[in-house]
Assembly symmetry: C2
Homo-oligomer: 136 residues x 2
């Protein structure tokens, strides 16, 4: 199957998407069980993913990469099926988002600490190496 136009793809089978995102098909099904994605189905009942599903999965993976649980990720991005009508609903989401954004900023600060810790450990090793070199 030749690529239509320079790698353009606008629908995927489960394993195509899995390959592209380097996760297993069963993980994708698992995320579906948890209510995080809801792909279309082909007439033969097989899952069919569009670009928006791919984007959604990328967000899920990004969230996972530093410790958000699937439930948290669900709260964060899981409003796909939200009716978006109720203003109050929106207000509630705003508050949630503000909290999450704050959390992200906190985590970034922690990453800075961590980098500092590692760098200072590295320097400790460096000094020790020089010490040993000197003695010889």
């Amino acid at each position: 199957m030749a690529n239509r136009e320079l790698n353009q793809k606008n629908s995927y089978t489960i394993s195509e998407l899995a390959d592209e995102l380097e996760i297993s098909p069963s993980s994708i099904r698992f995320y579906e069980d948890k209510g995080l994605i809801r792909p279309q189905r082909t007439p033969g009942n097989q899952r069919l993913y569009m670009k928006k599903h791919r984007a959604r999965l990328k967000m899920i993976l990004r969230g996972k990469r530093f410790g958000f649980t699937l439930d948290e990720i669900g709260e964060m991005i899981g409003m796909e099926d939200m009716q978006m009508n109720e203003v109050e609903q929106i207000n509630r989401s705003q508050m949630f988002f503000d909290k999450k954004i704050e959390e992200i900023r906190y985590r970034r600060a922690e990453l800075d600490y961590m980098e500092k810790d590692l760098l200072s450990f590295k320097q400790k090793l460096e000094r020790r190496r020089k010490e040993l070199n000197h003695k010889k």
Copy 2:
């Protein structure tokens, strides 16, 4: 027991430390089982933690906060018992550290993406809210 001098503490029982770090004593024991900390013992065989153990635990928690596994954390900071003699040992650690630092930078970039995603979602909600307000 009054504080010695303005909250100065240089040794802790397991539950004192647990309280301060807001984790359970059994988590601390669990980290010990995994070889991540090795506290002193009192004559009666109870664990006794010094400042360096507290610092170490903080690093463990920091690592955990964005998805490093305990094993990874162990590789990262677990060289407490390292003899620090072999230059080759040090070189190996250097490489490991460089890799980890790179990883941290990558994660920070991801946090930036995530924040952008959230902010754009938030704006979408904001627009929708205005739309609704207008219609009324």
